[in-house]
Symmetry: C2
Subunit: 549 residues, 2 copies
């Protein structure tokens, strides 16, 4: 095969395909040996104790682009959710490229860069809402759409070989209450232009119908809050600024003062105000100021809707919050959905609240939330506007992506491919196809250290969580003879296991007096592990430490 | 206060209040110093990696009754679900009392006792369906109700001081398809008699309406399976024998042969047949027999609907099942609900199936399942039948129990109390009240060893999952002087942490040459832990092992 020397447009997702979170998509332009790259979104995934214990954040393994970082023109953020911007600060030092975003998003990224001590090294460049950006061969239009945060953007990515529409996260909210409405004229015009590929959110591809409008939530929440008597606490996603506004207005309508509880509530309201939103948001009080007000005059807006153990609501629920105390007759409204995996943590908090006589209102029983992602009718509408030659469903687990691709085909999109992280697709020239697989995977933020998933640290700890750690300490003299009684530590094991292991180790030492020390240590390791298994039924990770006197 | 010498009737839940699972309820009769006890249900809760890593099963801590075991007359099982019978075999050796159940339940308990090597010591005593049982001062009527398993029973527990109705798990299924219908006449008669207390299932107390009928699922599944072309696999709860029958009949109606895949499917079908059910269940084939049959002639009934990693469906999904292979054009029906906490495990399997082009049909998108627990309309009906003086909601988390109690009050039940495990309530004579709190809690089946939750083994392993285990091995001579270079093991930590710890340990040893060995070890432990924290940001569990030469 002859070496390709002409320009190509390629798409390379390194995160967000096969998972909801950790979005990271790259577009390359140029001949294969000298492509220029832009990165669209650079997000995190939150770790889970069951899968990745001790890991708070997961990020994409982007070594492929790091090796080509002189050709990486920029990171562009579509919007400010953590799964789209959360990895910028941790990964920026290995990329060292410019960062672009619209003002509200830029403000939040700048805050994260500052926390990471990077603000002197990188200034986030602001693109106006509805603005344009030229980066080498790429010309980008920021087209306003709607989502569950301020300033979500669909990017029209123009290149000499054609246009790609990259949706970011979106829904069609005819009445988003805050920020721009969907620029349907721009989307339709983009479709008229002819679009090579639509790279599109798959989160709700299994959900029929439409996600619904924030305006309806406003009506419903306002009415609901009007029926409540005691203190009211509303919890939800702090980044959903329109929702915060909705709740604050509902509070005001019923004579309640609003207190923000939780750092991210305060951070989001500040960021929105500093970028020109929430101009008539009611003056919020400090949580200490409202403590002595009559119950029916108070509304708390709290973090912690996902059961996060350190967030405001968890502390209110277990009675450990320093300033906020709820009691019988008060109400907590969960104006949010349950992110899969958080069911039990949320239930625990709800049980604690219920045990104290606090009423719970949730999306299960009241209309207090709408999703920020497109359901099937909205996806259908987007395909009608854009009419791409190719559908590339991203931002979903496999079953969402597969269902999304099927839906696109049913809408007469000529081609639909389900990308996986690390797969490189040539979008032009010619019929799009998978042309390469590059290294990909996940990086763990383990404590303060970035560790490749492949190093297996978290996996090893998970093995310890299952069966503990068995350690045998041996002492040998310079001739390699055992010089002290063995010491056994069976961490995380019932006591009889340690006793059984010590006996087995002693027997092994007796039987192998003449062995080479490495062989002896290995024999001891095996005997110890076997003895633990016989006594307990589990095979612990087993280590032998040899001290030489 | 004078010593009570007259007879009292008391209720003591030791499991199942505050949790869905691990049901264990005791009723006592007699004067406080000499009560006689019966135990109603003795179940397990399944462990979760995030909360109790390495623990498959949790059981109630029943030390209070073990100390009084000469006065424990019997364990009575209402029905055969694991959360009602799963702890009988593990806990029987500490109780050594008779066990009673109706035939199908008795058959399954006997199988568990046999697996535990106890069949020579205890024979389960059969009570006929609709039968009676006298145990000391207690007279029990087994009243047939409906649930998602064969032979569920409500127990009418008669004593000289009055009658308690203990529902076990139930719903009102007008057409359960297999086994007895709800004996509504008996329930109404019981209500006419006058009932002190209704001890009742709270699982669905937050769900409006009714749970629905198995007959409707049969219609829907039969129609649905008729529309499918390739191989069909249906997964669900093996213990739902009526559902297995439904699926088998639907298969037959559409010319498909049924193969049972997974040990518990086979076990349940055998138990049902041996006790007189499933007389015209189609002849099932072995999974190897159907492998070569045309796809549209095959239906697999599989275990694994909750994402259990070792069950049939997980192995089919990841392509590792020895005999069952599904492919594009085939369909998997999840004829089940998602038990909270299993969302991610199920999603993983569904993603694997979707990635291979296998269609997924679930209760989210098709009518393929009904719950086995009473929704609010059914609870209302039960209170109308029984008309108890007291509602004692059990079998639920706190928010379900609280909501259930509130519903009971709204139905004019004069008194409703939400019991917690370990709380003893006097039901008669006089107005019911909480009279005592006895030791309660959970026991872990950790490997093969029963361990009290309070011993903290699993919790300790969870700490290791978060931050690993740091071990420092020191060697001292007989004068207490360090006799070998220290050895450091940082299990589950990034390499730089181990290096930093070794350096800190060496410095500590240099500085503390004259210390007493216990002080030295403690100084080393602290220095090591601090060094790990400085290098990594986490504080690992740290142990110092001292060998003496």
């Amino acid at each position: 095969m002859a070496r390709v020397t002409h320009d190509e447009l390629v798409f390379l997702p390194l995160g967000g395909s096969g998972e909801i979170g950790m979005n990271f998509n790259a577009y390359g332009y140029g001949p294969p040996h000298d492509r220029q790259w832009i990165i669209v979104d650079c997000g995190v995934l939150f770790g889970r104790e069951g899968n990745t214990p001790g890991v708070d954040l997961l990020m994409p393994d982007i070594r492929y682009l790091v090796e080509r970082r002189e050709n990486v023109l920029a990171i562009i953020a579509t919007h400010a959710h953590e799964d789209h911007i959360g990895a910028i600060a941790p990964l920026w030092p290995s990329l060292r490229c410019p960062v672009y975003a619209t003002p509200f998003t830029a403000r939040l990224i700048a805050g994260k860069l500052e926390e990471a001590g990077l603000s002197s090294k990188v200034k986030v460049k602001e693109v106006p809402v509805g603005g344009k950006l030229t980066l080498g061969p790429f010309e980008l239009d920021f087209i306003s759409i709607t989502h569950s945060i301020l300033e979500p953007n669909l990017l029209a990515i123009r290149t000499p070989l054609g246009v790609v529409a990259h949706t970011g996260d979106w829904k069609i909210d005819p009445d988003p209450m805050l920020g721009e409405a969907t620029d349907t004229a721009a989307l339709e015009k983009l479709g008229d232009e002819g679009v090579l590929a639509l790279v599109c959110d798959s989160t709700n591809a299994l959900v029929p119908g439409s996600s619904g409008s924030e305006a309806k939530v406003r009506e419903s929440l306002t009415e609901l809050i009007g029926t409540l008597k005691g203190r009211v606490a509303v919890t939800g996603f702090a980044s959903n600024v329109a929702r915060l506004d909705t709740v604050a207005r509902a509070a005001k309508a019923h004579g309640r003062r609003v207190a923000l509880v939780g750092r991210s509530m305060q951070k989001m309201v500040s960021a929105a105000r500093e970028t020109g939103y929430l101009k008539d948001f009611p003056q919020v009080l400090d949580e200490t100021d409202v403590a002595d007000m009559p119950a029916h005059k108070v509304l708390y807006l709290c973090t912690g809707s996902q059961g996060e153990p350190r967030a405001a609501l968890a502390r209110i629920a277990n009675g450990s919050h320093p300033h906020v105390a709820l009691a019988e007759g008060d109400t907590v409204i969960f104006s949010s959905r349950v992110i899969p995996g958080n069911e039990l943590a949320i239930a625990e908090i709800q049980n604690q609240l219920a045990a104290r006589g606090i009423a719970l209102l949730t999306a299960e029983d009241h209309f207090v939330h709408v999703s920020g992602h497109p359901c099937r009718d909205e996806l259908t509408q987007m395909y009608r506007w854009i009419r791409p030659k190719l559908a590339l469903p991203v931002h979903g687990e496999m079953r969402h992506q597969v269902s999304h691709a099927k839906l696109a085909r049913s809408l007469q999109v000529p081609q639909a491919m389900v990308p996986e992280n690390g797969q490189m697709f040539r979008l032009a020239p010619g019929r799009p196809e998978l042309i390469d697989e590059v290294p990909s995977g996940r990086i763990h933020m383990d404590g303060r250290i970035l560790v490749g998933e492949g190093e297996g640290l978290s996996k090893g700890r998970r093995a310890m969580a299952f069966a503990g750690l068995l350690v045998v300490a041996l002492v040998v003299d310079q001739k390699g003879r055992i010089a002290a009684p063995p010491v056994v530590l069976g961490e995380g094991m019932p006591e009889p296991v340690e006793d059984a292991v010590l006996k087995a180790v002693e027997e092994t030492l007796d039987k192998n007096k003449r062995s080479d020390i490495d062989d002896l240590a290995e024999n001891v390791r095996r005997a110890a592990r076997r003895a633990a298994h016989d006594a307990w039924g589990k095979k612990p990770v087993t280590r032998v430490l040899v001290s030489e006197i």
